[in-house]
Subunit: 107 residues, 2 copies
DNA sequence: AGGATAGTAAACCATATGGTTGATAATCGA
DNA sequence: TCGATTATCAACCATATGGTTTACTATCCT
């Protein structure tokens, strides 16, 4: 199912630690321990989060020496974004309705 | 935290039943039992999913007679969409890189 | 009034999740 | 070679999640 990928993607995005890690990776490739550093959490714990991101396909890892460099893989993020874009019609019509309601108020 | 809202939103979106319910609500307001109908699941189980969507702020409920009519509240979906839009630069540069790689292949 | 319908609430169960610690492996640097 | 660094793995724990069933309330219909 295509759905399973969205499940994993949204599940991965549902945790602030993991969203923070993605934000950190926006600056460029980072090793697991660098990703872990900002969090009051054991390295093993943080590495689990990295694993969730990797299994969801949101990041790639490559081993360089003893470090495991991670970088963002944009395509899954794009899938999620496109799913959400489906709903754009809703909020735009919502905003349109709000706008005309406001206009009506002023007349 | 603003983050907590994103947590709840993405958690709610991480389940295919709940995404399906949102899709059903795209056609218009629906009662809980109507939302539940497509799923091989007890009404109580489905109602829990509706509760998750409501607590995440993705839907609103209003009681009409003995029915509980639900409709989409677009703003939270929009929040999630905007969070994801942050990453647009990533996949566009990715696609650009892919494109030039393909071009290079052909020369 | 009394039965069917719509929904919630509570108790329960199995499994998933987020975290810990401790052990181990691989690599770097002196 | 030896110690420190980087990371994974396994076992474990508490809590959350997705589902069930049973019981109950509220509303509608005849």
């Amino acid at each position: 199912m295509v759905d399973n990928r969205l499940d994993a993607t949204f599940t991965a995005l549902a945790d602030p630690t993991r969203r923070g890690m993605l934000a950190a990776l926006a600056e460029g490739e980072k090793a697991v321990s660098e990703l872990a550093a900002p969090y009051r959490m054991s390295l093993a714990g943080a590495a689990k989060h990295v694993g969730v991101l990797a299994r969801a396909g949101l990041i790639e890892r490559r081993k360089v020496g003893r470090r495991q460099l991670c970088r963002i893989r944009a395509d899954r993020l794009k899938d999620a974004s496109e799913w959400l874009a489906q709903w754009e019609r809703f909020w735009t019509t919502r905003l349109d309705a709000l706008e005309s309601a406001l206009k009506e108020d002023r007349t």
